[in-house]
Symmetry: C2
Subunit: 386 residues, 2 copies
Amino acid sequence: MNMVYFDHNSTTALKSEVLKTMLPFMTERHGNPNSRHMFGRNARDAVEHARAQVANAVGAQASQVVFTAGGTEANNFAVSGVAGNLAHGQILTSAVEHPCITRPALAMQHRGWHALNINVNADCKLDMHHLHNLLAAPTNLVSVMLANNETGVIQDVAAISELARQYKAYMHTDAVQALGKIPVSFSDIGVHAMTLSSHKIGGPLGAGALVLDKRVDIQPLLYGGGQEKGLRSGTENVAAIVGFGTACELAIQNLGHFAKHTQTLRDRLEDGLASMKAVIFGESAQRLPNTSFFAFANESGEVIEGETLVTALDKAGFAVASGSACSSDSTEPSHVLLAMGIDPDVARGAVRVSFSASNTIEQVEAFLKALAQEVSRIRQMTAIAA
Amino acid sequence: MNMVYFDHNSTTALKSEVLKTMLPFMTERHGNPNSRHMFGRNARDAVEHARAQVANAVGAQASQVVFTAGGTEANNFAVSGVAGNLAHGQILTSAVEHPCITRPALAMQHRGWHALNINVNADCKLDMHHLHNLLAAPTNLVSVMLANNETGVIQDVAAISELARQYKAYMHTDAVQALGKIPVSFSDIGVHAMTLSSHKIGGPLGAGALVLDKRVDIQPLLYGGGQEKGLRSGTENVAAIVGFGTACELAIQNLGHFAKHTQTLRDRLEDGLASMKAVIFGESAQRLPNTSFFAFANESGEVIEGETLVTALDKAGFAVASGSACSSDSTEPSHVLLAMGIDPDVARGAVRVSFSASNTIEQVEAFLKALAQEVSRIRQMTAIAA
């Protein structure tokens, strides 16, 4: 069976053009960029070329890009690195951040900092009033994601940055899900630090970046050989970094097409979902064009479990997610939906579809057909069991 | 010009058999191992297969392997993770550890722990008497590498572990340089934790591991989605992990040949070096078979700078290192040689040759010829300048 992949927010396939630029660094052009000989210098040149490509994709300077092994590391680095270099104060994170922001913040709490959540409304948008109130206490860092991985809802990070700066707090944004799907500009949104990841945009796993205002005094997370100007030690993953650079360049070139194409697919999907009376989370907010997060709850309040639907759809040939991939092995309802005030039972029904430019309208039509069948079948089974 | 690569302790080429096992996971078999659908389950199976391969290479159980993005991360994790979960005490590291052990230990010092160096003797071997004395104060962790990256000198980690355990300290060893060059057994040497790296054994960059006794309560370095049983969050780098697994399997298969072949090359090299009156560091200690670390100092005490020789040899077609690659952009003499009591001027002359099984005796002969020419040329130039 030819599986259809609709889980691109979790990880998306490496683009063949990207792999092509990586392969020389996995074969004859091996070398440690810290070595002085020819192999080392070639590797260094490749890393610096990729640094410029990544910077260019987000309107930053190459010298502002610190390479990491991925988005999780960059987010941990931002939280513990920025707050860790300041006197104990508050770390404010939105209630819908990825756990790789909120959990390092909680770990800092054990070391004397205070980690607090900023509320969101029913549409997943940050409660600016709550942020304003929280900023009354001395705050080291505010971290709010540019776009949510589950709902796709886009935050007004420029306005949040402006408020944070008024209170002399550093501002970080996790732009992992936004990159390649909507325009992202490091300077325009006024943040001090921004996280990027390679494998969400058709680059390889193993590369990410923290884009960083050089005036921010940050503590390394990884100490050692002093790579990345002492900010991130460890031999640079040359091939992955090269691939990340290429993927950034392609993502920017293809941004218009990606947005238009996936929006068309999403519109068709959500027309179908509406006719099936699905709840679509964050529907009325501005969202990433490729993401739809929904659940089925009938009039009598019976919800189809997201896990059940994901398993049924997998058997029917469609790969979709129930909440974020990272929490897929958990049966807890999505913390994002709970923060939006969604009933926990409805939240347990959540299923996420996330498209890439490689998906087609025919796949969406076939998916809607399979979905209708599975929903009907599961409801019948539940009715018999009850 | 066809460059000869003699810098395998810095990074060694990805084996073609390894790349072959990785490529499916960089093309059609993409997927996040945390997803429940078919793509996710396939990726999970591949990661778990690799985990067994890595465990098997060091006589450990698969459940003891925690994957990281590399050796630097695993070493940082070991130091800050083990000590960070204990009351403030001492962290003892040998004076010849890689900076990715000593620098995180120093960072812990700012948080209330004490970081102290254990002396080594002129042969780079740990001073057991000094360790014994240091252990009189409450000690959280002792970290001593299995084999030194610069000199290749092998420590008696089993004896060090035994002593550390007598004093209820946890014992960690950095086995990055030992793996694939000498037999490494996690259980036989009695350590609580051991660091491994993929790209030093013909695997890709981007993968490493901390092999960990499950009784050790360790704090994560990277928080987030809860991967690796909550010990190391971040989407698993599936292709790199698969490559690391294959590389481990091959390294164990080829260990006998590697040792015999590189020792033959090293013996020939050092015969030549002896006739050129080079100083060979750690020569009388047990060393990795592939590594030679040396300098040229004449009767009047004039030393040829290592950097000068590396640059000259690079032009002549040979890639070698001056001290460890990570510190190649530094002009400080090697901290390893200083800890061994080597005169700083002599230490500045240090050049490292590290072989792999792909190197040949003809390359060594050609190298000795080029080396003799360059040494003679540089000495003449220095004499003219003086």
